[in-house]
Amino acid sequence: MKRLSPGRALQLLWTALAYLFLLAPILVLILASFDPSKFFRFPPRSLSLVWYEGALASGEYRSALTASAIIALLAGIISITTGSLAAFALVRFDFPGKRLIEAVLLAPLVLPLIVWAIALLQIYAVLGMSGTLLGLVLAHAVITVPYTVRIMVSTFERIDPSLEAAASSLGAPPLAVARRIVLPLAIPGLVTSAAFSLLISFNDVIVSSLIAGARWITFPVRLFSQLRSEGVDPITLAIGATIIAVILLAAIIGEYTLKWSRHL
């Protein structure tokens, strides 16, 4: 075994501490959700599932979570269909203005979303789309499309185009090539895109808190308005911890089965 140099040991320690800091709020959220007292204190005196039971019984949070899920699902469908079609064109074809189009597609990753949301809020008001499901779904689709484009561009770049050429030269019509060759090879990328789109939409608060109306209040919007006024309801800790646990599991499973980190 290689001997650990002091420099290397320091680097390992530094990285461990950085990850502890990075994940600390997430781990604390999970710990706090098991403290049965109304206000979490460390160290907790006892642990219980009382807030998880409360979360299951609470109708008000269920409706917010349902709204989040519906919006995430619809936005995710738009994101993966439009995003992967665009990514396929970007990888397989050459055309003028390709760089510009790529920049337009990735713009929501770079430009500040709060600035955009302030504009969208006003345009939705003019169009009478304020607080509508359509308005929220379109906005969430826009912020998730760039993730799909990036993930699918890297997916299609790994698929050998000669497979498609071989299939068509053997007489397969374009649709059959897409269904029998491209789609099966693109499945890992599609699953990754879907996971990212769903999670980003489900957890978005920046855009939603500005454009959400009274009818479609997502869970993060509800939580944000609660934190601004009344403070923390421990039931939200149980729900938040569950969401975080799902994300952590997804990240680990995604990495070990689909190599998520290679797509970025």
Binding site: A18, L85, W260
Partner: protein
């Protein structure tokens, strides 16, 4: 395939991005020169620079602006200091460990701004984990105040945006030969010297890319400063959010948004110039 195929494939996504995302930015510029009629959300006739004049005249906004620049610069610097050794370790790593570290780095990015802030409240609060641990160890008897202070907000911002620094750095550092450290140190350079003379200069494009991302994210953040600052730390993001969502003065919110956009545009141009300068110097060397 026909030459119209790429156009057809691109159309839905590009239309979505151009119409729903990019077009609203043009509206902002227009709205920033409008005012609202008294007691109404409707915009009054005629264009005016009143909003811009108010922004300059009211020292509250100037103070928030300066505070936000300071917070963002500090956040950028801290993410760099914390992230650089981490990125180097990830870049030189391999296999499962590297993948797992990268996957965990993605977690805060898909968590949204709110859940980590909710955790931070319980980490930094007066009865939270940090103060509880310090008291258990007997290091302090009274709680250290993090929430509602600039320090607490910076901690939250660094936690939230560390991945935006680390991921571009990993990208750049992965392209370096794995044994540059070894090569330099076998020629007698101390580890510190290797970092300063070899790794840092070669990492510069990644540092610039990460710095732009972190600075711009911190500059426009409003959830983290609002929740961890407990409404006491006014930043550009929190002020813009208040004007847009609570005061409902949309023309003035638009003006704030335009100023943010100009500031970030300037930062982008500056960083691009800096990047070009570095490249030219390296070519000359």
């Amino acid at each position: 395939m026909r030459s119209s195929t790429p156009l057809l494939f691109l159309l839905p996504a590009v239309a979505l991005s151009a119409v729903v995302f990019l077009a609203p930015f043009a509206w902002l510029i227009y709205a920033s020169f409008k005012t609202q009629g008294a007691g109404s959300l409707l915009m009054a006739d005629g264009l005016t620079v009143k909003n811009y004049a108010r922004l300059v005249a009211d020292s509250y906004f100037a103070a928030a602006f300066v505070r936000t620049i300071g917070l963002s610069a500090l956040t950028t610097l801290l993410t760099l200091v914390v992230g650089l050794p981490v990125a180097r370790l990830i870049a030189t790593g391999s296999g499962r460990a590297k993948g797992l570290l990268l996957a965990l780095m993605l977690v805060p990015l898909v968590c949204g701004a709110l859940l980590p802030s909710l955790g931070m409240i319980h980490l930094l609060g007066p009865l939270g984990v940090v103060n509880g641990t310090l008291k258990l160890l007997g290091l302090t008897t009274s709680s250290i105040k993090f929430l509602g202070t600039t320090g607490g907000v910076v901690l939250g911002l660094v936690q939230a945006f560390l991945p935006l620094m680390v991921l571009p750095l990993v990208n750049t550092l992965s392209r370096l030969p794995r044994d540059v450290e070894h090569a330099a140190s076998s020629l007698g350079a101390s580890p510190l010297r290797v970092w300063r003379r070899v790794i840092l200069p070669l990492a510069m494009p990644g540092i610039v890319a990460g710095a732009v991302l972190v600075f711009s994210a911190a500059f426009t953040a409003f959830v983290t400063p609002q929740v961890l600052g407990q409404g006491k730390i006014a930043t550009f993001g929190t002020v813009a959010y208040q004007q847009a969502a609570l005061v409902l003065d949309w023309p003035f919110a638009s003006t704030l948004a335009v100023v943010v956009l100009v500031a970030i545009g300037l930062a982008l141009i500056l960083s691009a110039q800096f990047d070009r300068l570095l490249r030219r110097r390296r070519l000359a060397a």
